[in-house]
Protein backbone atom coordinates (compact mmCIF):
# COMPACT_ATOMS: atom_id res chain seq x y z
CA UNK A 1 0.00 0.00 0.00
CA UNK A 2 1.27 3.46 -0.88
CA UNK A 3 2.11 5.79 1.99
CA UNK A 4 -0.04 8.93 2.01
CA UNK A 5 2.80 11.21 0.93
CA UNK A 6 3.58 9.15 -2.19
CA UNK A 7 0.79 10.52 -4.32
CA UNK A 8 1.15 13.18 -6.94
CA UNK A 9 -1.51 15.22 -5.21
CA UNK A 10 0.28 15.22 -1.87
CA UNK A 11 3.63 16.07 -3.42
CA UNK A 12 2.08 18.85 -5.50
CA UNK A 13 0.43 20.28 -2.45
CA UNK A 14 3.67 20.33 -0.53
CA UNK A 15 6.18 21.34 -3.19
CA UNK A 16 4.48 23.22 -6.03
CA UNK A 17 5.55 26.62 -4.66
CA UNK A 18 9.16 25.47 -4.36
CA UNK A 19 9.35 24.06 -7.88
CA UNK A 20 7.54 26.99 -9.44
CA UNK A 21 9.69 29.53 -7.58
CA UNK A 22 12.94 27.88 -8.62
CA UNK A 23 11.73 27.90 -12.22
CA UNK A 24 10.53 31.49 -11.99
CA UNK A 25 13.73 32.90 -10.50
CA UNK A 26 15.93 31.16 -13.04
CA UNK A 27 13.88 31.74 -16.20
CA UNK A 28 12.50 35.15 -15.24
CA UNK A 29 9.32 34.28 -17.12
CA UNK A 30 6.09 33.19 -15.43
CA UNK A 31 4.68 31.32 -18.38
CA UNK A 32 7.86 29.38 -18.99
CA UNK A 33 8.28 28.73 -15.29
CA UNK A 34 4.78 27.27 -15.13
CA UNK A 35 5.50 25.03 -18.08
CA UNK A 36 8.79 23.78 -16.66
CA UNK A 37 7.21 23.20 -13.26
CA UNK A 38 4.42 21.16 -14.85
CA UNK A 39 6.94 19.07 -16.76
CA UNK A 40 8.86 18.37 -13.56
CA UNK A 41 5.79 17.11 -11.73
CA UNK A 42 4.64 15.04 -14.70
CA UNK A 43 8.09 13.45 -14.82
CA UNK A 44 7.84 12.74 -11.11
CA UNK A 45 4.45 11.13 -11.68
CA UNK A 46 6.08 8.74 -14.17
CA UNK A 47 8.68 7.74 -11.60
CA UNK A 48 6.56 7.87 -8.48
CA UNK A 49 7.03 4.21 -7.61
CA UNK A 50 10.79 4.73 -7.39
CA UNK A 51 10.57 7.51 -4.80
CA UNK A 52 11.95 6.13 -1.57
CA UNK A 53 11.00 8.81 0.94
CA UNK A 54 9.67 12.32 1.26
CA UNK A 55 13.22 13.65 1.55
CA UNK A 56 14.13 11.76 -1.59
CA UNK A 57 11.19 13.35 -3.44
CA UNK A 58 12.20 16.81 -2.25
CA UNK A 59 15.80 16.31 -3.33
CA UNK A 60 14.73 14.93 -6.70
CA UNK A 61 12.28 17.78 -7.33
CA UNK A 62 14.87 20.44 -6.54
CA UNK A 63 17.48 18.75 -8.68
CA UNK A 64 15.27 18.21 -11.70
CA UNK A 65 13.62 21.63 -11.40
CA UNK A 66 17.03 23.32 -11.33
CA UNK A 67 18.42 21.35 -14.27
CA UNK A 68 15.35 21.69 -16.47
CA UNK A 69 15.00 25.36 -15.71
CA UNK A 70 18.61 26.03 -16.57
CA UNK A 71 18.09 24.21 -19.88
CA UNK A 72 14.88 26.12 -20.59
CA UNK A 73 16.47 29.44 -19.69
CA UNK A 74 19.37 28.74 -22.05
CA UNK A 75 17.03 27.81 -24.88
CA UNK A 76 14.99 30.95 -24.65
CA UNK A 77 17.77 33.20 -23.34
CA UNK A 78 15.21 35.79 -22.50
CA UNK A 79 15.95 38.60 -20.15
CA UNK A 80 12.88 39.85 -18.34
CA UNK A 81 11.97 43.26 -19.64
CA UNK A 82 10.12 44.39 -16.58
CA UNK A 83 10.33 43.45 -12.96
CA UNK A 84 6.66 42.45 -13.22
CA UNK A 85 7.90 39.48 -15.19
CA UNK A 86 9.67 38.22 -12.09
CA UNK A 87 7.91 37.91 -8.73
CA UNK A 88 5.61 40.37 -7.12
CA UNK A 89 7.17 41.93 -4.08
CA UNK A 90 7.09 39.62 -1.07
CA UNK A 91 4.39 40.74 1.31
CA UNK A 92 6.10 40.51 4.67
CA UNK A 93 9.35 41.63 6.16
CA UNK A 94 10.19 43.86 3.29
CA UNK A 95 8.49 47.11 4.22
CA UNK A 96 11.82 48.86 4.63
CA UNK A 97 13.32 48.23 1.15
CA UNK A 98 10.78 47.45 -1.53
CA UNK A 99 13.03 49.02 -4.14
CA UNK A 100 16.00 46.94 -3.09
CA UNK A 101 14.03 43.70 -3.29
CA UNK A 102 12.75 44.63 -6.72
CA UNK A 103 16.24 45.57 -7.89
CA UNK A 104 17.72 42.39 -6.51
CA UNK A 105 15.15 40.25 -8.27
CA UNK A 106 15.98 41.97 -11.53
CA UNK A 107 19.74 41.65 -11.00
CA UNK A 108 19.50 37.99 -10.07
CA UNK A 109 17.46 37.37 -13.22
CA UNK A 110 20.29 38.88 -15.27
CA UNK A 111 22.99 36.61 -13.88
CA UNK A 112 24.27 33.69 -15.95
CA UNK A 113 22.09 30.62 -15.51
CA UNK A 114 24.29 28.48 -13.27
CA UNK A 115 25.24 31.38 -11.04
CA UNK A 116 21.57 32.27 -10.78
CA UNK A 117 20.70 28.69 -9.84
CA UNK A 118 23.35 28.68 -7.08
CA UNK A 119 22.06 31.98 -5.66
CA UNK A 120 18.44 30.81 -5.78
CA UNK A 121 19.19 27.49 -4.10
CA UNK A 122 21.22 29.24 -1.41
CA UNK A 123 18.90 32.12 -0.56
CA UNK A 124 15.50 30.87 -1.60
CA UNK A 125 15.92 27.24 -0.56
CA UNK A 126 18.46 27.76 2.26
CA UNK A 127 20.71 25.01 0.96
CA UNK A 128 24.32 24.84 2.07
CA UNK A 129 27.03 24.73 -0.60
CA UNK A 130 27.44 20.96 -0.19
CA UNK A 131 23.73 20.43 -0.80
CA UNK A 132 23.81 22.79 -3.80
CA UNK A 133 26.77 20.82 -5.12
CA UNK A 134 24.74 17.59 -5.02
CA UNK A 135 21.64 19.24 -6.49
CA UNK A 136 23.46 20.78 -9.43
CA UNK A 137 26.10 18.07 -9.85
CA UNK A 138 28.72 20.79 -9.49
CA UNK A 139 31.94 20.64 -7.44
CA UNK A 140 31.62 22.36 -4.07
CA UNK A 141 34.49 24.72 -4.93
CA UNK A 142 32.63 25.83 -8.07
CA UNK A 143 29.45 26.39 -6.03
CA UNK A 144 31.34 28.55 -3.57
CA UNK A 145 33.06 30.47 -6.34
CA UNK A 146 29.74 31.14 -8.08
CA UNK A 147 28.21 32.25 -4.78
CA UNK A 148 31.09 34.58 -4.06
CA UNK A 149 31.14 36.10 -7.56
CA UNK A 150 27.38 36.38 -7.67
CA UNK A 151 27.26 38.21 -4.35
CA UNK A 152 30.08 40.53 -5.43
CA UNK A 153 28.18 41.45 -8.56
CA UNK A 154 24.96 42.02 -6.66
CA UNK A 155 26.72 44.04 -3.94
CA UNK A 156 28.38 46.29 -6.45
CA UNK A 157 25.22 46.89 -8.41
CA UNK A 158 23.08 47.63 -5.38
CA UNK A 159 25.62 49.78 -3.50
CA UNK A 160 23.68 52.98 -4.02
CA UNK A 161 20.39 51.46 -2.92
CA UNK A 162 21.92 49.97 0.24
CA UNK A 163 23.43 53.24 1.49
Amino acid sequence: MNPSWRTLEALLDKHQAMVFSIALRITGNRELAEEVAQDVFLELHRRLESVQSEEHALFWLRKVAAHRTIDAARRTARMPETVADVADLPGEGNQADPLLAQRLQQLVAELPEKMKAVIVLRYQEDLMPEEISQTLSMPVATVKSNLQRGLEILRRKTERVLR
Binding site: V19, M79, P90, A101, Q124
Partner: protein, 122 residues
Protein backbone atom coordinates in the same frame (compact mmCIF):
# COMPACT_ATOMS: atom_id res chain seq x y z
CA UNK B 1 25.00 36.94 7.05
CA UNK B 2 25.58 40.44 5.66
CA UNK B 3 23.10 43.02 4.43
CA UNK B 4 22.99 41.83 0.83
CA UNK B 5 22.42 38.23 1.87
CA UNK B 6 19.55 39.23 4.15
CA UNK B 7 18.11 41.33 1.35
CA UNK B 8 18.40 38.35 -1.02
CA UNK B 9 16.56 36.07 1.38
CA UNK B 10 13.73 38.59 1.44
CA UNK B 11 13.74 39.24 -2.31
CA UNK B 12 13.87 35.55 -3.21
CA UNK B 13 11.04 34.32 -1.02
CA UNK B 14 9.05 31.55 -2.64
CA UNK B 15 6.16 32.52 -4.89
CA UNK B 16 2.96 30.51 -4.83
CA UNK B 17 2.30 28.54 -8.00
CA UNK B 18 -0.39 30.05 -10.25
CA UNK B 19 -3.95 29.18 -9.29
CA UNK B 20 -5.12 25.97 -10.92
CA UNK B 21 -1.56 24.72 -11.33
CA UNK B 22 -2.06 21.56 -9.30
CA UNK B 23 -5.38 20.78 -11.01
CA UNK B 24 -3.78 21.15 -14.41
CA UNK B 25 -0.91 18.83 -13.53
CA UNK B 26 -3.29 16.23 -12.08
CA UNK B 27 -5.47 16.42 -15.17
CA UNK B 28 -2.52 15.94 -17.51
CA UNK B 29 -1.20 13.10 -15.38
CA UNK B 30 -4.55 11.33 -15.44
CA UNK B 31 -4.83 11.77 -19.23
CA UNK B 32 -1.50 10.07 -19.66
CA UNK B 33 -2.71 7.16 -17.52
CA UNK B 34 -5.97 6.63 -19.41
CA UNK B 35 -5.96 3.59 -21.68
CA UNK B 36 -6.51 4.34 -25.34
CA UNK B 37 -9.84 2.89 -26.41
CA UNK B 38 -9.91 2.04 -30.12
CA UNK B 39 -12.95 3.34 -32.01
CA UNK B 40 -15.69 0.84 -32.76
CA UNK B 41 -17.11 0.82 -36.28
CA UNK B 42 -20.56 -0.56 -37.00
CA UNK B 43 -20.61 -3.54 -39.43
CA UNK B 44 -20.94 -2.57 -43.10
CA UNK B 45 -24.20 -3.29 -44.89
CA UNK B 46 -23.52 -4.88 -48.32
CA UNK B 47 -24.68 -2.54 -51.12
CA UNK B 48 -26.83 -5.18 -52.88
CA UNK B 49 -29.04 -5.26 -49.81
CA UNK B 50 -29.90 -1.64 -50.51
CA UNK B 51 -31.39 -2.41 -53.96
CA UNK B 52 -34.53 -0.28 -53.73
CA UNK B 53 -32.65 2.93 -52.98
CA UNK B 54 -29.45 2.47 -54.95
CA UNK B 55 -30.25 4.98 -57.64
CA UNK B 56 -31.13 7.66 -55.11
CA UNK B 57 -27.95 6.87 -53.29
CA UNK B 58 -25.98 7.10 -56.55
CA UNK B 59 -27.44 10.55 -57.22
CA UNK B 60 -26.65 11.70 -53.73
CA UNK B 61 -23.14 10.39 -54.08
CA UNK B 62 -22.57 12.34 -57.32
CA UNK B 63 -23.83 15.59 -55.81
CA UNK B 64 -21.87 14.95 -52.66
CA UNK B 65 -18.72 14.40 -54.70
CA UNK B 66 -19.17 17.72 -56.46
CA UNK B 67 -19.83 19.63 -53.25
CA UNK B 68 -17.19 17.63 -51.50
CA UNK B 69 -14.66 18.51 -54.17
CA UNK B 70 -15.12 22.20 -53.55
CA UNK B 71 -15.16 21.74 -49.81
CA UNK B 72 -12.10 19.52 -50.01
CA UNK B 73 -10.22 22.17 -51.96
CA UNK B 74 -11.11 24.78 -49.34
CA UNK B 75 -10.05 22.39 -46.61
CA UNK B 76 -6.71 21.70 -48.31
CA UNK B 77 -6.20 25.43 -48.70
CA UNK B 78 -6.82 25.95 -44.98
CA UNK B 79 -4.43 23.15 -44.10
CA UNK B 80 -1.75 24.61 -46.35
CA UNK B 81 -2.41 28.04 -44.90
CA UNK B 82 -2.10 26.77 -41.35
CA UNK B 83 1.13 24.96 -42.24
CA UNK B 84 2.50 28.17 -43.75
CA UNK B 85 1.46 30.09 -40.63
CA UNK B 86 3.26 27.58 -38.41
CA UNK B 87 6.39 27.87 -40.55
CA UNK B 88 6.38 31.66 -40.27
CA UNK B 89 6.00 31.51 -36.50
CA UNK B 90 8.71 28.85 -36.23
CA UNK B 91 11.11 30.90 -38.34
CA UNK B 92 10.49 34.05 -36.30
CA UNK B 93 10.78 32.17 -33.01
CA UNK B 94 14.11 30.64 -34.01
CA UNK B 95 15.33 34.08 -35.07
CA UNK B 96 14.16 35.57 -31.77
CA UNK B 97 15.87 32.82 -29.79
CA UNK B 98 19.19 33.41 -31.52
CA UNK B 99 18.99 37.17 -31.05
CA UNK B 100 18.28 36.65 -27.35
CA UNK B 101 21.23 34.28 -27.19
CA UNK B 102 23.48 37.03 -28.51
CA UNK B 103 22.07 39.45 -25.92
CA UNK B 104 22.80 36.92 -23.20
CA UNK B 105 26.34 36.40 -24.47
CA UNK B 106 26.93 40.15 -24.50
CA UNK B 107 25.64 40.46 -20.93
CA UNK B 108 27.88 37.57 -19.84
CA UNK B 109 30.80 39.45 -21.39
CA UNK B 110 29.87 42.58 -19.43
CA UNK B 111 29.57 40.57 -16.21
CA UNK B 112 32.97 38.95 -16.83
CA UNK B 113 34.50 42.33 -17.67
CA UNK B 114 33.06 43.89 -14.49
CA UNK B 115 34.47 40.97 -12.52
CA UNK B 116 37.90 41.49 -14.01
CA UNK B 117 37.81 45.21 -13.30
CA UNK B 118 36.62 44.59 -9.77
CA UNK B 119 39.32 41.99 -9.19
CA UNK B 120 42.13 44.26 -10.38
CA UNK B 121 44.34 45.44 -7.53
CA UNK B 122 43.97 49.11 -6.74
Amino acid sequence: MDEIEKALKTALQREPAPSGFADQVLRKASMRSMPVVPPVFPPLVPWWRMFPVRWAVAGVVVVACMVGGVAEHARQQRIRGEQARQKVLLALRITGTKLRQVQRQVVQRQVDKSDEEGAEPR
